[in-house]
């Protein structure tokens, strides 16, 4: 009787009903709070990375008037000329008042060691330059760069900052003469790693990551799809396939560093493949990505309605034709999504690559899969570990590039899924 009374009154909500609505309201609020909180974390993350890193895309350059004196190039080879001497000479002529040995040392340290190579490249490209005086923009030292970007606090005492008072004065003078300015940092996108922050570039790591992922994709996609198709469509259901399934599921949860150890033991020590290379890195990441691709592939094969298989078998298609003509095209969007999620995971993976030596300091940009190279996440790790102030912004910039790649890959996944999706 009681329950009939409580539910029958449409105009006056009962306390029980009110309580139900209250719970619902609270649940909604909790959900909203959770979303707001996670969004704010993401926003904070992006803000810190961006505010730290955007300066890395600019770099300070100093204009020198270099006199390519003919007597400096008396030797056989142009490479043997004293290019650092030319830089120093140019600096001395610009600041003739500096005479003390220590003063000169401070003066020369305003210019990056890379300036000498800039001059050498110029002369080698155009030997007619010898004997003339040229205006050349060369890289400033990273301390100057940091000061220009406001990352060194001028108000601190001289002992607490890396730039001396006298250097500050020279820098101010250069700036007022328009001989010091920040320009777009082409170096960052065209070189490999360096010990000098102003010379360090991301290209080596980007290419390393690209080659590594190329190996990973070209191995793990066909193997993963074939394994998923066999297990889902052809394999008999028995203890062995159960065992395989359990193992694959477990492999997906194995810490990635274990795969690194396995790669070190098998690919490098046993097979003798070259260490620190995209080839070995790709193989290791293939091992790591395969379970993800197989599990995603099987799930998407399972979601293909059995009526399609029956329809194909019913008109006399063989098992193989049923799979390749009907089941696989329908499962493909899901498989691609799984693959790209796996690839994104592989792109961000660091631990297993440390084990196979990809953590090495490698200056050269790799030209192929057997050249030693770094990868993006390891490069981030290396730069984050470096003491120079200039690497902080490079780290953030490298993170931005890594995130750009991840976002691009995920958009590709969405695009492919939309493209291959078959409407019912």
């Amino acid at each position: 009787m009681n329950s009939i009374e409580t539910t029958s009154d449409l105009l006056k909500p009962t306390t029980r009903l009110k309580r139900r609505y209250r719970v619902e309201r609270w649940f909604k609020r909790l959900g909203l709070t959770a979303i707001a909180l996670s969004l704010s974390f993401v926003a904070f993350l992006f803000f810190t990375i961006f505010s730290d890193g955007y300066t890395a895309f600019k770099q300070s350059y100093i204009e020198l008037e270099v006199h390519f004196a003919a007597e400096e190039f008396s030797q056989e080879k142009l490479a043997n000329a004293d290019y650092p001497g030319l830089v120093k000479h140019a600096m001395r002529t610009m600041f003739p008042e500096v005479t003390s040995r220590e003063g000169k040392k401070f003066l020369y340290s305003l210019i990056s060691p890379a300036a000498a190579y800039t001059l050498q490249n110029m002369v080698e490209a155009d030997p007619k330059m010898i004997g003339t005086t040229q205006k050349v923009w060369v890289l400033a030292d990273d301390d100057v760069d940091m000061l220009m970007k406001g990352k060194i606090d001028r108000s601190l005492g001289e002992g607490n900052r890396r730039v001396r008072d006298i250097q500050l004065a020279w820098i101010d003078r250069l700036e007022s003469e328009n001989r010091l300015e920040t320009r777009f940092n082409k170096t960052f996108f065209t070189t490999g790693d360096s010990r000098e922050p102003e010379l360090a570039g991301i290209l080596g790591a980007v290419k390393g990551s690209f080659f590594t992922l190329l190996i990973t994709l070209s191995l793990s996609f066909p193997i993963g799809v074939a394994a998923a198709v066999y297990l889902e469509e052809f394999a008999p259901e028995n203890k062995w396939t159960d065992l395989i399934e359990i193992n694959i599921n477990n492999l997906a949860a194995v810490p990635s560093i274990i795969f690194g150890l396995l790669g070190l033991a098998i690919f490098i020590n046993f097979w003798g493949l070259p260490r620190s290379t995209p080839m070995v890195g790709g193989l290791v990441l293939t091992l790591m990505t395969l379970p993800t691709i197989i599990i995603a592939g099987r799930a998407s094969l399972k979601s293909v309605p059995p009526s399609i298989r029956e329809a194909a078998l019913g008109v006399g298609a063989s098992k193989m034709q049923t799979v390749t003509h009907h089941v696989l095209p329908l499962a493909m969007p899901g498989m691609l999504t799984g693959t790209i999620i796996g690839m994104a995971q592989a792109l961000g993976e660091t631990a297993p690559l440390l084990m196979i030596g990809m953590v090495a300091f490698i200056v050269d940009v790799p030209g192929g899969i057997t050249d030693p190279s770094a990868v993006l996440p390891v490069q981030i790790y290396l730069w984050a570990d470096s003491p120079e102030r200039g690497f902080t912004e490079k780290t953030a910039a490298a993170i931005m590039i890594l995130l750009t790649f991840l976002i691009a890959m995920n958009s590709l996944a969405v695009f492919l899924r939309k493209k291959f999706e078959i409407k019912w």
Binding site: P236, E237, P305, S307, I308, R309, E310, A311, A312, L313, G314, V315, G316, A317, S318, Q321, H325, H326, L330, I422, K423, W424
Partner: protein, 294 residues
């Protein structure tokens, strides 16, 4: 309630012989003591089934069934849910092969060839014994490709013109041509339910089978679409043998020449449709068609 208690009793099938069979003289006793009432056999059968047993694991789904399928007839199979009629239907083109735990014993012959012989390939068999399913299941491809798929994989045509012709005649036979002739390249899944089912029938007849199996082809359709499919079945009978499983007894009465009544894995009675519906010989058949259970 009565049915539930009966079906849960495993000893029930053994009670069939004896007291409840009225005219044992017409019953065919085939090798076992189990009897099918009526006339399961015909003179020039297209398919013959003898002592067919089907097991799912340990469970017996079909119990020693013997029946013939005549040329150019519609054989309707009726019976309560779970009586094994769909299972039996799927034995006729070996669709049960896809169920791992399924075991088929006995002999099924198509034009006197044992289709369960180890040397038989199921691919050409399924081309000769086509199937239409309960739920319309066109491929998510164009209408044209749906019908052209069978001829393509079996290599029935030499060129595009021949394929076009097969597709056109198949869709015409399925009575769908006027509705789809202008949109053959549109997806088959965009058609209405009844049209989809007729597309599936067109797909089945495109490979010129001898027998078409239909597993409750109208259960997902509205009465108008059902009427169209039934009309179509009547027309197709002139060229094919059709075995149809149905839950609607009126449908069986309308479309079929012979009707088989299944009960809990046993074939109880087979006979000309008018006789089954007007003068059933077995009490179970009578109970079912008069609506006392099922």
């Amino acid at each position: 309630m009565e049915l539930a208690s009966r079906t849960s009793n495993p000893a029930f099938p053994t009670m069939l012989s004896g007291d409840i069979i009225r005219e044992a003289d017409e019953a065919h006793a085939y090798t076992t003591g189990r009897k099918t009432v009526g006339s399961p056999f015909v003179d020039n059968p297209r398919m013959t089934c003898r002592d067919v047993e089907v097991y799912y694991g340990e469970k017996c789904a079909i119990n020693k069934i013997s029946i013939d399928v005549d040329c150019n007839e519609v054989l309707a199979m009726i019976g309560p849910s779970g009586c094994g009629k769909s299972t039996f239907l799927r034995c006729l083109n070996r669709m049960n092969d896809t169920v791992p735990s399924c075991r088929v014993i006995g002999e099924i012959r198509l034009d006197n060839i044992d289709i369960y012989h180890p040397s038989i390939d199921v691919v050409p068999l399924r081309a000769r014994v086509g199937m239409v399913f309960q739920k319309p299941n066109p491929f998510p491809k164009s209408i044209y490709d749906n019908v052209a798929y069978g001829p393509r994989i079996h290599g029935l045509t030499k060129n595009k013109a021949e394929l076009d012709e097969i597709v056109e005649t198949s869709i015409m036979k399925a009575g769908l041509w006027n509705e789809v002739k202008d949109r053959l390249q549109e997806p088959g899944t965009g058609l209405s339910g009844g049209q989809q089912q007729r597309l599936c029938i067109a797909r089945a007849i495109a490979v010129s089978p001898e027998v078409i199996l239909m597993d409750e082809p109208c259960s997902a359709l509205d009465p108008i679409a059902t009427a169209k499919v039934e009309e179509l079945i009547a027309e197709l009978r002139t060229q094919f043998s059709i075995v149809i499983v149905t839950h609607a007894m009126q449908q069986a009465a309308r479309v079929s020449q012979r009707t088989a009544y299944f009960h809990l894995g046993d074939l109880i009675e087979v006979g000309p449709t008018d006789k089954i519906f007007t003068n059933p010989k077995h009490r179970l058949t009578e109970d079912y068609i008069t609506g006392r259970f099922g």
